[in-house]
Amino acid sequence: MKPSAPTTLIAGILLVVCLGTSGFARYHLDQTRSRTSPDEVLYVESPRVIKRLSLGYDGLLADIYWTRAVQYFGTKHVLGSRQYPLLGPLLVITTVLDPHLTVAYEFGGNFLAPQPPYGAGMPQQAVQLAEYGIRNNPDDWKIYYDLGFIYYMELKDYSKAADAFARGANVPNAHPFLRVMAAQMAQHAGELQMARMMWVTAYQSTQDRDIRANAASHLLALQVDEDVTNLEKLASLYRERTGHWPSNFSELEATGLLRALPVDPLGHLYRLAPEGRVEVQEPDKFPFIKKGTPPGYTPPIPKFLPSD
């Protein structure tokens, strides 16, 4: 008995129609979903329970949660979120499932600790995470580094930072900077050079794209801060010599204080504002800068991460 032709035709047409309309429905659903922030719900919150449920395949599950953590942060970052409530729990679950996933501790140090909108603003949690990482990986210098980093950058607790770096420096194969930083912390904490060394180390010691981009942005910002400080000093010097503020950099050049027109790390000329203030032309391109922004300037939503 051959299949009936009318049924075949109707079923075939219906199939195509449903395929098309379900595609539209899906598209519509996805559009409405992406306007709101990603799910703020973790269906299972307890790391221990998740570990139990993993039936021993915790390595893979850790990788999955790690991916979720990165996606979560990246998506919210792009939306300019000021709150990342799930980042901490996601990183904790990841590291309970796989305590040796070093990159998770790095991520915590770089994105869990800093204040929003650059991070989740939870430095204490980040510290706990790092300490947990050290307990489970006592021979991994990177985690000591992450700990010291958090104390230095966010908590401004320089003695604890020095402590962490010192502990890390004792680990075999540790990055040579650790010992240097431990030693110099006491005198040079808060200085540009220390910060630069830290960000360079952060950049070099990871392969994670987000962490590298973050470090690179910070280094650029440090460069700008340094340039602006120096240029403002020169402007003051000019004022002392001539009695009035310079109106542009050519005047400084003419007096021999500058050898060439100053250019920011992205290649644009610095601007000389009234009363000797120096500004960058496009402050939006430099998240993290502390100097060189016009008065009343509010930084936009940072969009420098590859995950953005």
Binding site: R52, G59, L60, D63, W66, V103
Partner: protein, 258 residues
């Protein structure tokens, strides 16, 4: 005697192959290819880790599913289809039949795992561009996975010798899950008092301890596995498998084939 077991084993292998079980390798190959290509986009720096975790987990899960799915039918299908009658009317002892079926399925799984190992190493080569010394530990992890297969195959065969396929699947899968919780069971036994303590401790020893045979995470982090551990784990798995097979033989020897 031994040739009969070999013949039954190779017939069982042939049945599995003609049942197209090896097609699962296609799904596996697609999975590994997709993972190898995508992992670079999702998690830089931990590509090798993810490929090893994913690859070995897939080998383990695919294999357990195959072991249970085919294992539960090893005896019951023959009884239901009555193909067993003409076999047992020959000079084949019942225990030889059980042994042959076991080796047939175990052999199928070993062959399957070998093909999958090639897939895992291929994906690894793709993301790492070269092999490292530490990659050799992956072979050890695969060996441990095969030990798990032996245990679960024996368990499925045991249930098959007296239970319907559906019930066998439920029991076998449940034992797999409980066996993966074995370490938690131990923790519970340590906390419990009185009767619960003894029951839990008994369970810890009776239940197949799959948790301790899971070295995927260690191997993914390039940590070595102690030789002593390999030897004692092998002994445990083989003895446990032997125990279960004896159970299967005891039950099957007494079974009336209606």
């Amino acid at each position: 005697m031994s040739t009969r077991i070999v013949h039954i084993a190779s017939n069982t292998f042939r049945e599995a192959v003609r049942d197209r079980v090896l097609y699962n390798l296609i799904a596996f190959a697609l999975l590994m290819s997709g993972a190898a290509v995508l992992v670079g986009q999702i998690s830089i720096g931990i590509e090798r880790l993810v490929v090893v975790n994913l690859g070995l987990t897939a080998v383990s899960l695919f294999g357990v599913v195959i072991a249970i799915f085919i294992g539960i039918g090893l005896v019951s299908k023959e009884i239901e289809k009555r193909t067993l009658y003409t076999v047992l009317s020959r000079p084949v002892r019942r225990w030889e039949f059980i042994a042959g079926k076991f080796f047939g399925l175990a052999g199928t799984l070993v062959v399957n795992t070998a093909f999958m190992a090639v897939g895992v190493f291929a994906a690894l080569l793709y993301v790492s561009r070269a092999f490292h010394r530490a990659d050799a530990w992956i072979l050890v992890a695969l060996y441990f996975i095969v030990l798990q297969f032996l245990m679960i195959t024996a368990i499925a065969l045991l249930f098959s010798s007296f239970s319907s396929p559906l019930l066998s699947a439920v029991f076998a899968f449940s034992l797999f899950v409980v066996g993966s919780f074995a370490e938690d069971l131990r923790g519970f036994a340590a906390l419990a008092r009185g009767v619960s303590h003894w029951l839990a401790t008994g369970a810890v020893y009776l239940v197949p301890n799959f948790a301790s045979l899971n070295v995927i995470s260690s191997v993914a982090h390039e940590q070595p596995i102690a030789k002593q551990f390999v030897v004692s784990s092998s002994l445990y798995a083989l003895l446990y498998t032997g125990m279960v097979l004896c159970g299967a033989v005891l039950i099957f020897e007494r079974r009336n084939l209606k």
